[in-house]
Amino acid sequence: MSATSAATPPQQRATGGAGRPADPRRGSTLLRHLAVAAVAGLLLLGLSYAVEPFRNFQIATVAAYLCATAGLTVLTGLNGQLSLGHGALMATGAYTVALCQNAFYDRGATGGLLLLVSLAAAVVVTVAVGAVVGVAAARLRGPYLAGVTLAVAVVVPALTVTFNGVFNGEQGLSVPVEPPPLALGAYFPYERWQLWIAGAATLLTLLLLANLVRSRYGRTFRAVRDDEVAARLAGIHVARTQVLAFVVSAATAGLGGALLAVLAQSVSPGAFGLTLSLFLLMAVVIGGLGRLAGAVWGAVLLVALPDLSHSVTDQLTLSAAAAQRLEGNLPLAIFGITLVVVMLVAPGGVQGLLSRLGRALLARWRARRS
């Protein structure tokens, strides 16, 4: 039995589990997801014009993190495998994109499409790494899997120092990226262009993941999470399913890391340490484990919360001595307390809370109508 088998609240499992009766909407799942993605894309486009460059960059960062958190929530929430090493997979994608872009630029190749090639390479390489880790992971459960993935999270940044000839040690590599195409105008803000790139890649990822979750594979993921023995009896190859889930989430993590590298125009091991892996996990659990909408909340929190709590400390007027001590530490303390309180008050995460709220409102509305 998997250690994270009870990861989602029962009502979710009941609706999301295998063996759904014939659903009138089933045939249109892809279309529905496409429609949602199109609307989200347009919203994002509008947003990119409505807000200032810094917010554009922040939203782009949310999008990059979202790639990783969405994959992680599928792995941990739907398939029941705990990974503390997704930061390392992001690093794999980030370094691949950096090496590819540098190779292109060294050979004098330029052009917007090269970035697509690099991003694809990042996904491919991370898939390969993810497959290796996934094969090992499929044998392990609960804290043992956590232990191995934790070691992976520590090893990958360390390797960049060991092979500093390729990865340039702790200083890392720069990632040359083309400026926005001139067709968009000479004064087109770079941050808006970054948001477009990250947003497009992330929406595509979410679209694919949403379809995967709704597909036969999604059901086998959940079946393996809920009861391995039953899944095996039902003819599901448990290990293969687990490796597949790991590979899928590795691909998205690789893409997320690659996007982060493109946004930052640089990559260095310090940005992909153990802390990142732990924060990704916190993000998906606080957002609401096993739900893509929860992954969105998680990614937003990752970017917004440090910023928000920093603004809070800015409001306080402090003496020089007190300010020195509180600066930096107070935001962390607020972040820590938020984590603890959210988990105590709403163990289903933000999305769980919202669905509960939504259901309550709906029930009241229906009661009033009847």
Partner: protein, 431 residues
């Protein structure tokens, strides 16, 4: 199929609304986005907004977290004395925890949202390397980076970036020169951090002693706090002089570990990891082990109460920094502040980003430093030399002359100019 139709129809309505909105937004945006004249980001008639990124939390914060508050205290002092050309300096300190990903966020926040005039003294090689391109594209002056990497000295590639610390190769050459002249024939070994810091420093040492002149070379990574294997190798090889390119924590750890193994070489330590108060505090009762340690530095010694700069900085520390513990980091932070005020004054009353870069590029700043700042149109590196220090009787003090050299194959020369005195009121006057 009904729900799908509804979704699609609703989507269509939303989509067309958004399309309209974008069209209007795009027009409005393009119309008003031209840079208006005389409107310099972060500068008003009464204020100059400047930002920095520093590790205030996390394992790297030790020591470094005191630098930015010291700089701020110096600015507060200047502000209390009328500011620079009537403008008060507002210094925004952002914590990046020494994590390059955070640096990306906070520097963008400073530049894009807070609209700072310049980034001053951003700390760390891996952290600051990541924002060089961003600062360049946004034409933000990137002054006096707090690290000895040679990356800051690339005037062609990064015209707006200037360093502050002597680079690690310059320092390695000066330390090695001392070893070569005063300890000839001794077996020299080297322990360095496994990054630019360690590598550049070793390059400098080898420029003077030759590659064969360093008998055993070892590295450490900050994520492994056991240096006994490296120190054990030095002992086994019979090293007599050990050059350390280490951060303070690992200087203390190396010296402590060596004592534990009964190994007592002559320590020669980079300025990064040679601040005596920091080391003594960390070693606690074992502080006497630091006796005889040779280090490098380029700013007045914090314990030199007779030095007028130290008198000035101590006073400012008392009045504007909550009388925080006074050490090398405090002196460093205030020296950065002093240099920045000099640069602002040199840039004149009509402050622009181009103006301040031009002023810094002209160079010629005289301040607390014991060696010259090398700023010129084609040199953006910071201090160009160091003077040696020795711990004797529990007190770290300078000895011998100051030296200057370059990061290439130039000779190590004595620098003989007498240090300047601080202005009477502690605020630089316009040049």
């Amino acid at each position: 199929m009904f729900p799908m139709h509804r979704t699609a129809r609703r989507g269509l309505v939303i989509a067309s609304t958004i399309a309209l909105l974008i069209a209007t937004a795009a027009c409005g945006d393009d119309g008003g986005s031209g840079p208006s004249r005389g409107n310099v980001p972060g500068v008003t008639d009464t204020e100059i907004l400047v930002g920095t990124h520093m590790p205030l939390t996390g394992p790297a914060a030790a020591g470094y977290s005191k630098i930015a508050p010291a700089t701020k205290a110096y600015f507060d002092y200047v502000n209390a004395n009328g500011g620079v050309h009537g403008r008060k300096i507002n210094y925004r300190i952002m914590d990046d925890g020494y994590n390059p990903a955070n640096t990306q966020q906070v520097v963008r926040q400073l530049v894009l949202q807070d609209k700072v005039f310049a980034i001053l003294n951003g700390l760390g090689t891996p952290t600051h390397t990541g924002v060089l391109d961003f600062l360049k594209t946004n034409r933000v002056p990137d002054l006096f980076v707090a690290s000895g990497s040679r990356s800051w000295d690339q005037p062609d590639k990064y015209p707006g970036t200037f360093g502050f610390n002597p680079d690690y190769t310059v320092e390695g050459k000066i330390l090695a020169q001392h070893v070569k002249t005063t300890m000839p024939g001794r077996k020299v070994c080297f322990l360095g951090q496994d990054d630019d810091f360690g590598r550049d420093s070793l390059a400098g040492v080898e420029k003077i002693l030759g590659a064969a002149g360093v008998a055993v070379k070892q590295t450490y990574v900050t994520s492994n706090t056991n240096v006994a294997p490296q120190i054990g190798a030095f002992k086994a090889a019979g090293c007599q002089v050990v050059v350390l390119a280490t951060v303070p924590g690992f200087t203390a750890l190396s010296i402590g570990t060596a004592a534990r193994l009964g190994f007592k070489p002559q320590w020669v330590v980079s300025n990064v990891g040679a601040d005596h108060p920091t080391l003594a505090k960390q070693l606690g009762e074992a502080a006497p082990l630091l006796e005889g340690m040779i280090g490098g530095n380029y700013l007045p010694m914090q314990n030199d109460a007779a030095n007028p700069w130290i008198q000035l900085f101590t006073r400012i520390n008392k009045e504007h920094n909550g009388n925080a513990e006074f050490d090398g980091n405090t002196v460093y932070g205030m020296s950065v502040g002093y240099l920045f005020v000099q640069a602002l004054l040199a840039a004149g009353k009509d402050l622009t980003r181009e103006g301040v870069l031009e002023a810094v590029g002209k160079g010629g700043f005289q301040g607390p430093g014991l060696v010259p700042l090398r700023f010129s149109a084609d040199d953006h590196s910071g201090y160009g030399g160091e003077r040696l220090t020795r711990v004797s009787g529990g007190v770290q003090s300078y000895f011998g002359p100051a030296y200057e050299t370059d990061e290439a194959d130039g000779a190590v020369n004595e620098y003989t100019a007498t240090p300047v005195q601080p202005p009477a009121n502690g605020v630089p006057t316009g040049s």
